[in-house]
C-alpha cells in the first residue's frame, strides 16, 4: 500500500480520488444506457437472448460500451494508486446515485425501505472513507 511510486502522487485532474469520482459518474451513465439498450432488444431472438448478445442491436448498447472502455482505463488508473479493498466499496457510491438520479430526473418514487438502503450505503461509504482519507494523507 505504500509503494515508492506513490511518492510522486499526481495532483489536480490526475488525482486518483478525483478519477474515482469520474469513474463513478461514468458507471451511473452507462448502467442507465445498458438498461435502455437491453430493454430495446429484449424482443429479439429468444434463442440467443440468454447470452445478452442481442443487446448489440441497439446503438445505446454501443454508446454504453464506448463509455465502459473509457471508464475501464480510468478504473485501472485508480487501481494503480488505491487498494482494491478501498476503491471498490467506494465505487458503490453508484448505488446511491442511481436511485437518487431516478428520483430527481425521472420523478420515480423511493419507498421508505429503499431510503433506508441508501442511508446504509452512505454510512458504509463514510466508514470506508476514513481509512481511505488516511491513505490519502500517506500517499
Amino acid at each position: 500500500m505504500t509503494g515508492s511510486h506513490m511518492r510522486n502522487r499526481p495532483s489536480g485532474f490526475f488525482n486518483p480520488w478525483f478519477q474515482l469520482t469520474l469513474n463513478v459518474l461514468g458507471v451511473v451513465t452507462y448502467e442507465l444506457l445498458l438498461k435502455a439498450g437491453a430493454t430495446d432488444t429484449a424482443r429479439f431472438s429468444e434463442a440467443w437472448a440468454w447470452t445478452g448478445i442481442t443487446g448489440l442491436a441497439s446503438p445505446l448498447t454501443w454508446l454504453a460500451m464506448g463509455l465502459m472502455m473509457l471508464d475501464l482505463v480510468i478504473w485501472l488508473y485508480v487501481l494503480k494508486h488505491i487498494p482494491l479493498s478501498i476503491a471498490f466499496p467506494l465505487s458503490r457510491l453508484v448505488d446511491v446515485l442511481v436511485p437518487i438520479a431516478c428520483w430527481i430526473i425521472l420523478k420515480e418514487g423511493i419507498s421508505p425501505l429503499r431510503w433506508c438502503g441508501i442511508a446504509l450505503v452512505i454510512i458504509g461509504l463514510a466508514i470506508v472513507a476514513k481509512p481511505a482519507a488516511r491513505l490519502g494523507e500517506r500517499l
Binding site: S4, H5, T39, P131
Partner: protein, 114 residues
C-alpha cells in the same frame, strides 16, 4: 427464479470478482515506470476476458430481470471483493473496512426492494 438463472448469476459474480482481482494485480505489476512485460499483459488480458464474459452475462440477465432485481447480487460483490483482495492480494483488511463493506452490501440489497 429458476436454477439456470441462479447459475448464470453465480457465473456473472465469479467472473466479475475475478476480473477485478486480475486488474488490480496487473496494475500492481505495472510498477512505477509503467514498464510493460508479458506477465503484466497476460494478467490484464485475463481481466479483460473475465470482464467481457461478465458484461454479456449481465446484459443477458438484464433482458430478463429488472435492474433492481439484480442489484442485491451486485451488492454481494462488495464484500466478496473486499475479502478477496485481502486473501488473494494481501491487502490490509481492517475491522472498520469490513464493517463498512458489510453495511454497503446490506444497503445495496435494501435499495433494490420495491
Amino acid at each position: 427464479m429458476t436454477w439456470p438463472a441462479l447459475i448464470l448469476i453465480l457465473i456473472w459474480l465469479v467472473t466479475f470478482v475475478a476480473g477485478q482481482l486480475f486488474f488490480k494485480r496487473a496494475m500492481e505489476l505495472l510498477g512505477p515506470s509503467g514498464v510493460r512485460n508479458r506477465k503484466t499483459m497476460s494478467i490484464l488480458g485475463a481481466g479483460i476476458f473475465s470482464m467481457t464474459i461478465s458484461f454479456f452475462l449481465n446484459l443477458g440477465l438484464l433482458q430478463r430481470f429488472d435492474l433492481s432485481y439484480l442489484y442485491p447480487f451486485q451488492g454481494l460483490s462488495v464484500i466478496i471483493i473486499t475479502v478477496a483482495a485481502a486473501v488473494v492480494l494481501h491487502e490490509k483488511l481492517t475491522l472498520r473496512l469490513t464493517i463498512g463493506a458489510i453495511l454497503i452490501t446490506l444497503g445495496v440489497a435494501l435499495v433494490s426492494t420495491t
